[in-house]
């Protein structure tokens, strides 16, 4: 991808950048198909179907069938991308994902847009705060959670090239805040260190990466040097990057737009605990349902996921660590 094409996409939403990427990937790879479940219009599926009328399949509001059909196609050599909102793409059809896709490691790509709490005012049924935890416990699954538009674009290509099931966790109608100004190198399973520092490490994923970078900038002014690690692949986790961060800083903070149970924080905790290194602070969505709606940005603020509150949490954590030493 050229930096020109990043510029062209500025202003695009997560959904539309996904569709841009899929169209470009489909130009290269004739096996790529798009399957939607009556939320195709939201992500601009008609742009795909106009270009590739035979390669786009509308399956209606029937996610179990969506994944089953994708599995059948994949068993015949196709590379179906089954795309719908994240809660429906992962929960209604979880058994199809496990039995029909992951069991035989079939080449199905599941794309969950509008993940996390990005559909803020629509309420809990439309949030996906458990998707990483659910899919992480299924063998053979690869879980990608790109940080911004440029990385999302790369992630779609990487998913298409990878042989086997992939879940791509994508934001919604919002314009992603840019983490990368130019091209990014995206390799499945290899985390990207964005800032250097040994006072603490923030390991973030998806929408939280840009906020982590902002927090690190503020912390630097207070002379706290934070290493920010973009963990764009939740599974397989880059254990080495986690261990390096834990050993070199001793203080790891994970941030994710996901339940703090079962997601990135849990995955990182597994690695740290099994190796007996470092202290961990998990930031994310609390393990509770929200019964009061709010617009997306307010939802994130409510749960302390804006840069200012991340700063306070990291500062306290670092101070406590220092007191212990």
């Amino acid at each position: 991808m050229t930096s020109q094409s990043i510029k062209d996409r500025s202003g695009g939403s997560y959904r539309s950048i996904f569709m841009d990427a899929l169209i470009d990937a489909a130009e290269e790879t004739p096996e790529i198909l798009l399957l939607v479940a009556d939320l195709g219009r939201a992500m601009g599926a008609s742009r795909f179907s106009t270009l590739f009328p035979d390669r786009c399949f509308q399956l209606g509001i029937a996610e179990q069938n969506l994944i089953g059909v994708a599995a059948g196609m994949a068993s015949c050599g196709k590379i179906p991308f089954a795309a719908t909102f994240a809660p429906f793409a992962t929960m209604r059809c979880l058994e199809q994902i496990r039995d029909d896709v992951a069991y035989m490691s079939l080449n199905v790509k599941i794309v969950g847009t509008d993940s996390g709490v990005s559909l803020g005012t629509l309420g809990t049924t439309h949030y996906a705060i458990e998707d990483i935890g659910l899919l992480r416990s299924i063998p053979n699954m690869v879980i990608l959670s790109p940080a911004d538009g440029a990385e999302l674009y790369q992630a779609v290509f990487a998913a298409a090239k990878h042989k086997g099931p992939v879940y791509i966790r994508v934001g919604g109608s919002q314009q992603p805040a840019a983490v990368y100004q130019e091209n990014c190198n995206f390799t499945i399973g290899r985390a990207v260190t964005l800032t250097q520092g040994n006072d603490a490490a923030i390991i973030a994923t998806g929408t939280m990466v840009e906020r982590a970078v902002q927090a690190a900038e503020i912390l630097l002014r207070g002379n706290i040097r934070v290493r920010v690690v973009n963990m764009h692949t939740i599974k397989p986790l880059d254990d080495e990057a986690v261990l390096k961060a834990a050993t070199e800083t001793g203080a790891v903070v994970t941030i994710e737009e996901h339940n703090i149970v079962g997601g990135l924080g849990t995955a990182v905790a597994d690695v740290m605990a099994q190796n007996g290194v470092g202290r961990l602070l998990k930031l994310g969505l609390p393990d509770q349902f929200s019964h009061k709606i709010a617009p997306y940005s307010d939802m994130l603020a409510r749960y302390g996921l804006n840069p200012e509150e991340i700063v306070v949490n990291v500062e306290n954590f670092v101070c406590k660590r220092r007191a212990q030493i």
Binding site: A62, Q64, N65, G68, G72, C76, E95, D99, D100, Y103
Partner: protein, 259 residues
């Protein structure tokens, strides 16, 4: 095989009800090459009622996908021949199954892939009648009609019984044929133990153009063994040596007597 499964037992009732359907497909209908199980142009069979492997593994062995001695390993430690079939480790199994209601969607995906690649294979999906309780079956039924796939053929093993009791008592799916018809499927009912009727139903002249096709095959659970026929308790059971001998004697007598 059920005897081999020892104290674990096997799904013997459904295995016997589906056996004639599966045998007809493998030996009278499907275009297959057992020496080349991944042949892209082969017809595909999905045993959506995956628990009926006792009517499926022997047909695969007889067709030549794997040696018949392998059947002896059924449900034995280390064997790929599990109580529900898996593509990995068992040649000839076109798709893994076990949990109810998955197979028709997968079959539809295969049928659509055939159209995309301009291949002329057919996809056969064998469903149970208890399986008709699953909502996902009807999601797939709706979509198959929407896409006018005429290379997808569903066969329902209508033995009238499911795990807990009769289908009518557990969750009545009648009028079943009307339901499928109303979902846009060409529907045909046959005696699922009459090979002639089964063969005829699969003939090209009966296969509709531009719409999916379902054959409701009326069968008897535990077919061929008098003490098993229509018995709910034989859905999954352990056989004694004596019962096994009796059953085999009845089945072989039926074979010679019937022809």
């Amino acid at each position: 095989m059920t005897l081999n499964a020892g104290k674990e037992g096997g799904h013997i009732g459904p295995g016997l009800s589906v056996a004639d359907i599966v045998a007809t497909l493998f030996f009278g209908v499907m275009r297959i090459d057992p020496q080349n199980p991944d042949w892209p142009d082969r017809d595909r069979l999905i045993l959506s009622k995956g628990h009926a492997v006792l009517g499926y593994y022997p047909a695969l062995a007889q067709a030549g996908y794997f040696p018949e001695q392998m059947l002896e390993t059924f449900e034995k430690k280390g064997s790929p021949l599990a109580g529900h079939p898996c593509t990995i480790g068992t040649p000839g199994v076109d798709f893994s199954s076990g949990s109810m209601g998955h197979g028709l969607s997968v079959g539809l995906g295969m049928a659509l892939a055939a159209k995309l690649d301009a291949r002329d294979y057919s996809v056969y999906v064998v469903l149970g009648d208890g399986e008709q309780n699953e909502g996902a079956v009807w999601e797939a039924a709706m979509a198959a009609a929407q896409y006018h796939v005429d290379n997808l053929i569903a066969v329902i093993d209508r033995n009238g019984l499911q795990h807990d009791s009769s289908c009518a008592e557990v969750m009545d799916t009648e009028p079943l044929a009307d339901k499928w018809r109303s979902f846009g499927w060409e529907t045909r009912e046959v005696d699922g133990h009459d090979i002639g009727q089964l063969l005829e139903a699969f003939q090209p002249e009966y296969r509709p153009k531009g719409k999916p096709y379902v054959i409701i095959a009326h069968t008897t659970k535990g077919k061929g063994v008098s003490f098993m026929e229509n018995g709910v308790s034989w859905h999954h059971a352990v056989l004694t040596q004596k019962q096994a001998e009796l059953a085999l004697a009845e089945i072989s007598q039926d074979k010679t007597g019937g022809e």
